[in-house]
Amino acid sequence: MLVRLLKGVAKALIEFAALYLVPAYIVSVLESPIGLPLYLAPVAALAAVFSGLASALSKPRARLASSASSLVLALYVYLLFEGGVMSFSYQSYSVVVNAKNLLLLMLAPPIASALVDAAKWATGEKEEKEREIEEWE
């Protein structure tokens, strides 16, 4: 139990670092015109917490946490890409980046993963309930 808990905490910390701390550091080092908004920090933290729970909990609850983590990760990617259209000024140029197609491609894996995990959790719960009913009969 303790090992699982430690594994979950470590995974959450690594995921938060990968989602927010490292990108924020890279953006500041490169002096990029596109900064990393502060509101991404709680979203990244939430995704990391759910990911940690997915490692710490046992199935089928781990599936639910993993699904939630994937959904929050999809939200994080959507917010990171500012909905697919980013505009900013660089030197005396005005720049508009349209990354809607790339965003769709980036959103597909976490959403698909969330759906698969949610479906696994739902069927797992159903099987468990059926087993409970059979035992009671």
């Binding site: 005005s94 349209n98 491609l105 597909a108 894996p109 698909a112 993963s113 698969v116 696994k120």
Partner: protein, 242 residues
């Protein structure tokens, strides 16, 4: 059980595809950024032919639009380029070509003296349909004078009396953007001549050899040549004696 395995494999496939696309876009974007920075430096130094190499892994489609506004008139030129990975293409945007798209009425005020204009440049770059970047820049600039070369020489031929003398005047003007238009000129200041008319040919050159009588004005004012195109005039110094 088998369905879950297929679903998990599908999720992993999506992850690999999206990661590959992200790496391809990032790599192509960064390599093109380096190329574009170098090209922008060359363009600022006056180069009109720029060679762009797509060192990335995605096909690049470039759409360049230059819009120049002089007064109420504007003209647009567009260039579209498709550069596959590893290939190069030349971009040629000549400032005078943009100006030549303007109606003559817009250029006439700039014939002999500079006028203010606004240049808007919009570059759209599309990376394999995954990402597109629009870069716009607007700057004020000065257009003209369109008379690129003015050469006027006067040779005294014969003194008629104390106030008049016979002269031979040679005029050569060059203004490619004023091809087909007419210009008028006269001597002013210490010498006075009537207005002379000359026409620009299809290449924008105008030559005039004229023999006439000039009046010597009182005082010692310097002699200048007043050149007018459609009411807009400018003065240039005169070369005496050939």
């Amino acid at each position: 059980m088998k369905a879950w395995t297929i679903a998990s494999a599908f999720v992993w496939l999506l992850r690999i595809v999206s990661l590959a696309a992200l790496i391809a876009v990032a790599y192509t974007g960064l390599s093109l950024y380096q190329e574009a920075t170098e090209l922008a430096r060359l363009a600022k130094s006056g180069a009109t032919r720029l060679e762009l190499t797509n060192t990335g892994v995605l096909p690049l489609k470039l759409d360049i639009t230059a819009n120049i506004k002089v007064g109420e008139h504007s003209a647009v030129i567009r260039r579209t380029l498709e550069i596959p990975p590893g290939k190069s293409a030349a971009i040629e945007v000549d400032y005078s070509e943009v100006l030549s798209q303007l109606p003559v009425e817009a250029l006439l005020p700039a014939a002999v003296k500079p006028v203010n204009a606004k240049l808007e440049v919009l570059v759209k770059a599309d990376l394999g349909g995954l990402l597109s970047i629009e870069v716009a820049r607007e700057e004020e600039l000065s257009v003209g004078p369109l008379l690129e070369h003015v050469e006027v020489s006067l040779e005294p031929v014969e003194l008629i009396n104390a106030t008049h003398f016979k002269y031979a005047l040679h005029v050569r003007l060059n203004a490619p953007l004023l091809a087909g238009r007419e210009a008028k000129l006269r001597l002013k200041g210490g010498l006075e001549t009537p207005w002379l008319t000359l026409s620009f040919d299809e290449t924008g050159s105008a030559d005039l050899e004229h023999v006439g009588v000039a009046r010597i004005a009182s005082g010692a004012a310097p002699v200048t040549v007043e050149v007018c195109v459609d009411g807009a005039c400018s003065e240039v110094p005169l070369t005496v004696g050939g």
